[in-house]
Each structure stands twice: as structure tokens, then as C-alpha cells.
């Protein structure tokens, strides 16, 4: 992999980590508000349903996860499992696609 691509992955890893930090805090605040407010799952879904802002927020959350997790795993697989071959990156891309698919299914359920 070229130095430029390596740098790009490094930046993406850090940027997604920073984004995830913010997303986790917002998600946590929402959870506490909902739980302390005594909202049931059905009531929470009633509030998120059709709300574009929540849809955008959780989409960003899912995309940040889909970027952060495979890049982190890439380094771990290389250093701990010695897997640096050609199959690694396609496997990680598949993982990223699965995370986007699974995450967006959940987001869709929250939004609809």
C-alpha cells in the first residue's frame, strides 16, 4: 500500500474516532434522557420515527463505525495475526459493507 493510502487510513481512523467520541456522548445523553424520563421503546421509536435529524445523526454514527472498525482491525490483523496478504483488505471491506448494511437497517427501523 502506498504511503499516501497509509496516511489516508491513519487520518480516517483518527477522524472517525473523534466523531465516534461525540456520537457516543450524544447517544449516551439520549439514552439517559429516555430511560430517566420513563420512555418505553415504543415511545422512543414514536419520537424518532420520521425525524430527519435523528436519521442523519445515526447514519453518521454507523458510517463512522464502518470506517473505524475495519481500519483498527487491519492493524491488529497485520501485527498480531501476521495477515498482510491480498485477502485481508477485501475481507475488511466486506466487514465495512456488512456494518453499513446492518447499521442502516437499524437506523431505518428507528426512522420509519
Amino acid at each position: 500500500m502506498s504511503a499516501r493510502a497509509q496516511t489516508l487510513l491513519w487520518v480516517a481512523q483518527r477522524a472517525s474516532a473523534a466523531l465516534l467520541g461525540v456520537c457516543v456522548l450524544v447517544h449516551l445523553a439520549t439514552m439517559i434522557y429516555a430511560v430517566r424520563g420513563g420512555l418505553t421503546a415504543a415511545e422512543i421509536l414514536g419520537r424518532t420515527s420520521g425525524n430527519v435529524a435523528w436519521f442523519a445523526f445515526y447514519t453518521v454514527f454507523v458510517l463512522a463505525i464502518a470506517v473505524h472498525v475495519p481500519i483498527g482491525l487491519r492493524a491488529v490483523l497485520a501485527e498480531w495475526a501476521g495477515w498482510r496478504g491480498r485477502g485481508r483488505d477485501p475481507a475488511l471491506i466486506c466487514l465495512a459493507i456488512f456494518l453499513v448494511y446492518g447499521g442502516m437497517s437499524a437506523v431505518k427501523g428507528v426512522f420509519r
Binding site: V35, V69, G103
Partner: protein, 410 residues
């Protein structure tokens, strides 16, 4: 790289690996659960299992650990801080996050684990009255939902005051709930000079369970065949006609007082310890009439022991065909009784919400609606906030009526 940095990096990676395995599973389960209401309910039941709960806690801790390492790495790379300062800041941030998450989870767990034993419904009237009937019907359904027995305890006396005082002193742990008729928590405070409880301070609203009209009834052998007959008889002999009720300040007392007031007649009230005993007295000829809840009287009406002369709803009531509305004789007359759940003040909001939600769910079943219908009751299931607002408005109304009718117990 220092030993601290190496350890942080190692922990960060291990926790990251576990989280990476968990996330696809989490997304898949959530995606499945959010496809429909039925799936969501089954997902929540699954998530409530002890093993799943324990793994949730483990994931939260892992997330906190992973974030600690992540924050530290970002600090090392982007902030010119000393090593120990970075460690301290990262640990502090992660600790705050972990505490927040655990707090959120534990409060959910508290409500989700309730009830762990039987739940007591204190009914402030003896068996046989509408309050008792309503409590037993809803209690039976809640027993099925909670998997714990709802025990109905009848504590009659003082227009509901005896049971209310006992419920007010109960531990606010959700295992003792109070099931009064409306007047016990909206009218008694204006009637009784000395009350063993304070409806506003000792209880918090949960939900109004059912409501229904009342019915003017006389014994089967009574000479009165219509509402007009009762009014005429009372006018012919002022202060002679008697009416029985469930106790001073009870819903049936206030309904009858409302009728007497609207008809501008003079009748003598006879308090009993509950609606059931009041109806037994009426059937036995001890009193002349009663304005009682349909739920308590319907059996007696159908068996021919009591004759229904008029209902307190605005129009004729479907369950009592052929029985006119009292409003036909006294235009504008209307009176509705309700029965609900309140909890001792201090009961956690999560438990209150759970009781409200589950009661609402119980009331939504077709079987329950059918059973309520034949008792002359309609399901309500409003939110604690709506119930609180309605109670406040009703309390103001009864304060005025009680003052006008000079109903006072010293």
C-alpha cells in the same frame, strides 16, 4: 514507548477486537427487532434475561476501556501534554462515561426487573363494589403480564379513607399500589376535617383505569317506576326518602348528592362501608334509592332484584337498553365515575411508567374490553400526567360542590 503507553495500546486493541465482534451482532439484532412491534417486544424480553444483561454491562465496560485508550492515543498524537496528564485525563473521561452508561443501564434494569414478588392493590372499599370489580379485572390481567400475582386487599371504611391512609404509609417500592375510586383522591380532602392521608402529597398518579356512568336504582318492589316518580315522592315528603351509598365522600355519595341537588329535592343519605353493602341494604328495603356504579348494580338489575330508572350518562347507555338518561328528566345532568391507580409518593418514575404501560396494554386486549363492557365500564389508560391534570380539575370541582352542598365530616 513507555510501559504505560504499551499497556494502554494493548488494552485498547483487545477491547477493540471484542467490540468489533459484538457490533455486527448488535446491528443485526437491532435491525431484526426494529422491523415490527411484535419483534421489538420479543427483543426486549430477550434483552431482559440475566445473561444478556450481564453481557450488556461487560460491553459498556469494554467501551469505556476502549475509549480510554483511544482518547489517550489522540492526546499523545495531537496534544503536547505530559504522559501522566494524558493518562489521567483519559481515565477521568472514560470513568465519567462508564458511570453514565451504568447509571442509564441500572435504572432500566430496576424497572425491567420489577416486579420480583406479588404486588398489592389496596382497594378502599369492601368486595362487590365497582372499585373492587375494576381492580380485580385489571389485577388478573396484570398478573398474567407480570408473572407475579396481584393481590387485592379490601380496606373499607371512612369513604375510602381507611384504605387510603394505609396505602399512603406503604413503602414506595412499587409493591403496594392504591386503587381508589376518583372521589377518594379528589373529594375526600374537601369533606373530611381530619383525613389520615393527603391525596396531593401522599400519592402520585399512575393511570386512570376505567370509567363509567352510574345508574339510579330502586328495589324491585319499589312503587317508583321512573326518575320523575322518585323526584315527586321526595317532593311530597321532604326529608323522608333515603338513599344509600358507599360512604361519605365516595363516588356513589357524590353522584347521589349531585342528583338530589339537580332535582332540588331533600333526601336523607345513609352511609355504608361500601357499594356492595349499600346495594344489599337497598335490596332489603332499608333505603329507597341509590345512584350507584353500573358495574356494581348490573348483576342485581339483570337478576331483577333492582330496577334501573335512569343512567347518569348524557344519553341512554348501551348496556342498559330502555333505561333513559336522567338528563331526560333533569336536562344537562351528567355524572361519571372512574377508578384508577395511584402510587405512594417516592415510587420510582420507571416503575410508575411500567405500571401505566402494562395497565394500558392490559386494557387494550379484546377480552378485557369485552369483560369491561358487560360491567358497564370503559377503558381509559391515560398517562400519569393526564391523570394528574384531570385529578386537579376534578378536585377543584368537588371543592365547589362540597361547599355548596355543605357536605362536611368533622
Amino acid at each position: 514507548m513507555t510501559i504505560a503507553s504499551r499497556n494502554f495500546a494493548l488494552v485498547h486493541r483487545v477491547s477493540g477486537l471484542v467490540l468489533a465482534l459484538f457490533l455486527p451482532l448488535h446491528f443485526w439484532a437491532l435491525g431484526q427487532a426494529l422491523q415490527g412491534e411484535a419483534k421489538l417486544e420479543s427483543f426486549l424480553r430477550w434483552a431482559d434475561q440475566p445473561l444478556v444483561k450481564a453481557s450488556e454491562w461487560a460491553i459498556v465496560l469494554l467501551l469505556a476501556i476502549h475509549l480510554t485508550g483511544g482518547v489517550r492515543i489522540l492526546m499523545i498524537e495531537f496534544l503536547p501534554w505530559r504522559d501522566w496528564q494524558k493518562t489521567l485525563a483519559a481515565v477521568a473521561a472514560a470513568t465519567a462515561l462508564a458511570i453514565g452508561l451504568l447509571f442509564a443501564l441500572s435504572s432500566t434494569a430496576h424497572a425491567q426487573n420489577w416486579p420480583q414478588k406479588s404486588v398489592r392493590f389496596i382497594v378502599p372499599f369492601p368486595p362487590g363494589g365497582a372499585t373492587d370489580i375494576s381492580a380485580r379485572m385489571v389485577g388478573q390481567k396484570l398478573t398474567e403480564i407480570w408473572g407475579q400475582t396481584v393481590v387485592i386487599e379490601n380496606r373499607g371504611g371512612a369513604g375510602g379513607g381507611v384504605g387510603a391512609a394505609e396505602a399512603a404509609k406503604a413503602a414506595p417500592d412499587g409493591y403496594t399500589l392504591f386503587f381508589p375510586s376518583g372521589s377518594v383522591v379528589t373529594a375526600n380532602q374537601h369533606i373530611y376535617a381530619k383525613l389520615g392521608y393527603n391525596p396531593e402529597k401522599d400519592f402520585v398518579p399512575v393511570t386512570n383505569v376505567v370509567s363509567g356512568p352510574q345508574v339510579l336504582v330502586v328495589p324491585a318492589n319499589s312503587p317508583h317506576k321512573s326518575v320523575k316518580d322518585v323526584i315527586d315522592a321526595a317532593r311530597a315528603q321532604p326529608g323522608k326518602l333515603t338513599f344509600g351509598h358507599a360512604g361519605i365522600g365516595s363516588q356513589t355519595h357524590l353522584a347521589a348528592e349531585n342528583f338530589v341537588n339537580a332535582a332540588r329535592i331533600d333526601a336523607v343519605q345513609v352511609p355504608y362501608k361500601g357499594e356492595g353493602p349499600a346495594l344489599v341494604g337497598l335490596i332489603g328495603g332499608d333505603t329507597a334509592f341509590a345512584v350507584t356504579n353500573v358495574a356494581a348494580a348490573i348483576g342485581h338489575i339483570q337478576s331483577g332484584r333492582l330496577r334501573a330508572l335512569g343512567v347518569t350518562s348524557k344519553t341512554e347507555f348501551a348496556l342498559l337498553p330502555g333505561v333513559p338518561a336522567i338528563a331526560k328528566t333533569l336536562p344537562g345532568f351528567e355524572n361519571t365515575g372512574w377508578f384508577g391507580i395511584v402510587a405512594p409518593t417516592g415510587t420510582s418514575r420507571e416503575i410508575i411508567q411500567k405500571v401505566y404501560q402494562d395497565t394500558k396494554k392490559a386494557l387494550e386486549s379484546t377480552e378485557m374490553r369485552a369483560r369491561l363492557y358487560v360491567q358497564g365500564l370503559a377503558p381509559v389508560g391515560n398517562t400519569p400526567e393526564e391523570m394528574g391534570a384531570a385529578m386537579k380539575a376534578e378536585s377543584a370541582l368537588w371543592a365547589r360542590v362540597v361547599k355548596e352542598r355543605k357536605i362536611k365530616v368533622e
